[in-house]
Symmetry: C3
Subunit: 586 residues, 3 copies
């Protein structure tokens, strides 16, 4: 894994300035849920990251919704009775209600009034309004502007088109070692509003830019989509891919001066939830956690009951907690480079946790290993100020039992994840830990077929006979044969306790021995034949077939001799005898 | 369901006055655990609700107890050496120790003293004492009265009978849609004590009166019983019925000025516990919750380990927290109409929750449904003050996943239950929710018999052949046959993958095809024969047999065509082909 | 059980003085992890309890560790340029670094300096240092001493041997009714340090002394071992025994004036954890609980993931919370008799809980039993101040449902364990409770063999035929036969509902009856034969065989008639008839 913990604060600071410049560049573009504004926005981003741009035709049915007509606006203004332009889209994108139908008319103030939107309690701010699913038109203006309007005839113009076209969104996939995905989703549908949504776009773009340069365990999917209809459209067209999402975050409201806020996924205790809370709890600044609620941003769709994806929302001040939200006051001054940089580093740390949150096995689970002889421990015992690093080693060793992940250990111990992770790396290098990634399952041979088919099993070890008779070639891509070098075949004929055997009459004993001898001969020969046949069967079925080389077998024998065989022989005298007999056959 | 949330506060106030008048009417009656006082009390209640009165003979063994002799008292007094009556039952029912044995004698103050009970720390109050299981006699009087007694010879009279008779209790069952019961239990054994127990009797009676006028999902069972021995007697004689109790409350101490107190059932997290806590937490006034403890009122018996019924105790001030309890100070002034009315409304709200606490399924579980096109959403998006009702819709939609009840959703969202319930009703009307009452289970045909027998299954759909061969007619009351209109029979002969089939030698393929054809012919004919036979078999066994009408089948086809068939055909091309072939057979 | 709750505080006080005298006696001995000091220490303890002393040779491999060479020191001193002895082992054992290699040389102060250890922030205290696994030498002295050293040539002498020898530890096993063990572990490797470890040695010794005089449910194992290497050695050599440890405590730092501290076992909610927390929460003084952490004392080894034993650490002030730890200030003044006595009583109370924490069954689970008729209840009901004892009875009765232990009930009710336990004893004497120790399991006969083998089953009741055919004699030590007196054999031939039977044609009915009759005859005879054969089979296999005496059978019949038979007959008329028919066969 080379996604490392962020090195220094100045990195984040420099990135903060870059992100703010991106916000400045995107601010003047007039975005809505569809239209040229979104395309222009994605074009700017393509200068930084290789986004793919998708166009979904109007009218496409996406679950309970329909992709709407595309809206584009060229000009929008109000002229007062004196012919002065009192409201003008060219001055501020918020002045026109998004998705307004075209209009060009003259009308009295009384007739105009229902089409005007203002904020009486914030008289200098212009609100942001949309009318996506209700065909009408309107203007937004400051309450001071509104109060200054005199009686008389007004001329209004909204030169817009609302017509069949497309919904446009950007998507970037950074493939990782695994198909499992981390979803990073931000919305691109708001016009000149900086915190609620340009901050998300800027941070997501730069996260993508830097992640692209690292090797990754997970595949990262970045979505730049219009809010609500965009995530619904993507989910509707990518149901199978959605099932690959293991962790996800929705980005918005992340450039303001407030502390961090994490809103949990609907699952509440998903790994992403725990990773985000861990990062915030060690982050230094003020932070809070909120439980999932079914309103907010696109997590509403990702966490709808039919998907219930582990997607949270990592923000600074939640949209419902700062008055500037959805007004002209959410501008370039409200969002600051240092906050963008700080948020960036939090996201990066969350990814760091996800990338590195593995599970190890203590190779000396019985009592502590002796750290001193490996140079891992202070030479003089008895010191009262046992250093932090030593303490972290004990936590990692004690809880690396195959059940606890590194994040579990970080939570239990109170250490920051990176300390635990670095400690684990050191212990791994010293052979005191081993990977516990895959787990071994014992199951009857006749269940292998279905288990491989459903993905519950990635690989299986069984006899050549089983490999053939259960038709596992139908689900296998690779076969490693032991032909000529196999040690093992299942001793199936008859197994009984000596005690029972000796209680039998002599003649019965004799029959058993004789049948056993016959069966053994048959079984050994048949097994050997299958050892040869299996490669043929799998080759025919299209699987790649590998033979163990003599060198590999030798290497394995050397390891086995010092570990598994030794352990087995140590169990009892008869185990030792059995092993010795087996070794003679080599 | 027509048990609605209480409409207005004045309803509760008017009821409060009515209930207080009932308390006044019952106050003078001299009650004990048996005797004429209980009968007189129940007679008054029968003027309001159609109680059934039960009489259980003395000596009846009820679990570890025995129904005691019946006690009746006509007069009880003490005359001082001057012949003045200083203590008189006629003045206050508490003056005689309940279950005192008859006595008529003259004795010195010293001899009398052990029979006198007073409260030194509350010198003006008369205590309440009983001697149910210890044959003796006594008087209760204020400590001031006691101190005023001079030396000399006293005459005492208790003209009482303690003889074989009956234990009397009242019972009222209001049947509902379901056999499952809500138990409402109050005790009727206390003489002139208003909060501890007349308040319970009054509220229970009026709850019964109003519930009788509504349609009910649950069956309500009201018990007016003597404390302890009454609930033991009822449980002993109604073990099977007790198993039907799904929720229950014990009423007492509910007319005083204190805040509400809910004592949990022994289970601790039963639905009744959660409903009561929800109602109190939204009730406005002060409230507290106590865990179950094995002392208190009749919940002791309902929650004994052999029953462990989900019965809680919803009170105002607990009996051990107000000094007036079990004294003459628990009188008509202590209990007020407004508190009776307030308690009444809390009980009603708890019943409202129980009656309406169902589970729904979101019919659009993938992403949010579009509320706007259904007129359920404000026309202009982007408003910051999304109204409460809209928010409740999102909660109900997101959590109507078949697992969460409306009470779960109310708890999670913080909304009051009635808001959630009304929201759910609206969504149901718009087809965005559907009932998730029954759940569908898949189980092997050979387990149907036992599952129906044990009540785990209410209905089953299987082939005519299974209906016959598993002798399901023995446990069925109804059969709906598809004869002549059946689409379906189980394709049982042989199912194999084409890939496997094609690897077989030609001659083996031919045999398989031939046997399959023979089996198919046989199976189709046998299945058709069974379709005819099944009606006969079930009719003989006493079940009602119904045939699907052509109109019903047509209706079903129309629905299926637009839903299940369409979904199936959309899965893949071969699904579509298979469905087309099937439709040709219509 | 005769481990009773400690009777009076003065017992603990007297014990406190005795324990302090033991600390005084052990203080001058120069201990290390090996060597004569440990042997001398154990010799002193053997004067009080019959410890077994074990010697494990140097070089023995114990898991990842090796038993070190044995270290013994005769003298160790530093002479200043004037020839004055400025540091001397004879004055304080801490002056030499434990496990120092021998040295006799002259060197400058600058050369000596790296070998000197002091505590600058505690200039009058001498630190304690060891160098077990790093061959070097050193002296410890107070910082004041260090500062007073002048430039010049010093002479140093450490007359020590570090050579093959033994690791010495003491072990005492007090067998109980059960093989299950309570582990009591303290370390004996520290030289003159009173709280950190002499307090543990003193309390453990006296706990052993007093426990030896009582009958015990559990087996108690006391370990007096060097820290870390001692527990590792013991675990390595006693893996099978370790599996017998049901509860355990590590003793150290238990003579100081601080409040009690319990550090949970790694399991966190083991019975020992709950018992210790219960005792501390009712103990009066200040106390705290800490979660498990993988540093501290020998619980590190007992709770390593490969063992994960339920072993906690019950201390006063944790070692990392008092500055005197591992310095000369942890001396005879720091540890006081009253604190030793107080700690002792806490340990005793924990053992009391473990010894007595059983599970009972209420014999009247349906409703409360009538306590009054048994003299267990105040004669006059209605009193408000129901006494504590009565309240405890209700708790014990209500929760003695086979699931809750007495400790569960103590925790739920808030009563101290001994009150609950004494109440349970009273109820047991009155027949209101019965032991719920063993639990009855129903399992198929063919699973008995393995269940007995794995210890899941202690005894089984099955037919003679099953006893023989499943070869249970191979795992049985005892057989009780019912031959000649058996009532029971499994009615296996054919069981069908009368309804089904009557629907069959007459001829089929006849065949069934005839076959049934034949089978019955065969089965009865075969069963009788097996009843006779079974004793033979088991005797041959080495099991003890017992026959029921006529008296025993009679006794059982009498009990059965009044209980199980009566209950069965009361179920229905046909049950009654069946029982009557069965009784005729007696």
């Amino acid at each position: 894994m080379s996604v490392g913990w962020l090195d220094a604060d100045d990195d984040a600071a420099a990135l903060g300035s870059e992100m703010h410049r991106l916000v400045e560049r995107l601010y003047p573009i007039c975005r809505s849920i569809t239209g040229q504004g979104v395309r222009d926005t994605l074009a700017v981003l393509r200068g930084l990251v290789p986004l793919e741009v998708h166009e979904v035709p109007s009218g496409t049915v996406v679950f309970d919704w329909t992709v709407p007509k595309e809206w584009n606006v060229r000009e929008a203004w109000i002229r007062d009775p004196q012919g002065r332009t009192v409201v003008d889209l060219r001055q501020l994108n918020l002045h026109v209600v998004s998705y307004s139908t075209p209009v060009r008319t003259r009308l009295s103030l009384a007739e105009l009034r229902p089409h005007l939107h203002s904020l009486p309690d914030r008289p200098q701010w212009v609100p942001y309004r949309t009318t996506y699913y209700n065909e009408t038109w309107g203007f937004c203006l400051s309450h001071e502007q509104l109060l200054a309007l005199e009686e008389g005839e007004y001329e209004v113009c909204i030169d817009a088109t609302l017509a069949d076209g497309h919904l446009t969104y950007g998507e970037l996939v950074l493939p990782g070692e695994r198909d499992d995905e981390v979803l990073v989703s931000c919305h691109v549908c708001h016009p000149s509003l900086c915190n609620d949504n340009l901050s998300g776009i800027a941070v997501a773009t730069h996260l993508a830019r830097l992640l692209a340069a690292r090797s990754r365990r997970y595949t990262y999917r970045f979505l730049f989509i219009p809010g609500t209809i965009g995530s619904i459209t993507w989910l509707s067209m990518n149901e199978a891919r959605a099932a690959r999402i293991r962790h996800g975050l929705v980005l918005t409201c992340i450039g303001d001066p407030g502390g961090m806020t994490y809103k949990r996924s609907r699952r509440g205790d998903a790994e992403i939830d725990r990773a985000a809370v861990h990062v915030l709890s060690h982050g230094g600044g003020p932070w809070q956690v909120r439980d999932f609620s079914p309103y907010g941003y696109d997590e509403r769709q990702y966490c709808s009951p039919g998907f219930n994806l582990p997607v949270g929302n990592l923000a600074r001040t939640p949209h419902d907690r700062y008055p500037e939200n959805h007004t002209s006051a959410d501008n370039l001054d409200f969002v600051k480079p240092e906050y963008l940089g700080d948020t960036y580093s939090k996201y990066w740390e969350v990814f760091y946790v996800l990338e590195n949150n593995t599970r190890y096995l203590n190779t000396n689970p019985k009592c502590e290993p002796q750290l001193g002889k490996r140079g891992l421990y202070g030479a003089f015992g008895g010191k009262k100020d046992a250093n932090r690093y030593e303490v972290a080693m004990f936590w990692v060793l004690n809880y690396s039992d195959g059940h606890h992940t590194l994040l579990d250990i970080a939570e239990k111990s109170g250490f920051r994840f990176d300390v635990i992770r670095e400690t684990a790396t050191t212990l791994l290098e010293h052979g005191l830990l081993k990977e516990a990634g895959a787990s071994v399952v014992s199951l009857p041979s006749n269940e292998i077929y279905q288990s491989v088919q459903t993905g519950a099993l990635d690989a299986a070890m069984t006899s050549s006979t089983s490999l053939i008779s259960f038709r596992l070639e139908e689900v296998a891509k690779h076969l490693t044969t032991g032909r000529g070098k196999a040690y093992w075949f299942m001793l199936e004929p008859l197994l009984m306790s000596r005690e029972v055997f000796e209680k039998l009459p002599k003649d019965q004993q004799a029959i058993i021995m004789q049948v056993g001898a016959e069966l053994e001969k048959f079984a050994v020969e048949a097994a050997k034949a299958d050892d040869q046949a299996v490669a043929e069967v799998y080759k025919k079925a299209g699987a790649k077939v590998y033979d163990l080389s003599a060198a590999t077998v030798k290497k394995w024998q050397d390891i086995a001799r010092a570990t598994a065989w030794k352990d087995f022989a140590a169990k009892s005298e008869s185990c030792a005898r059995l092993l010795k007999a087996a070794e003679k056959t080599l």
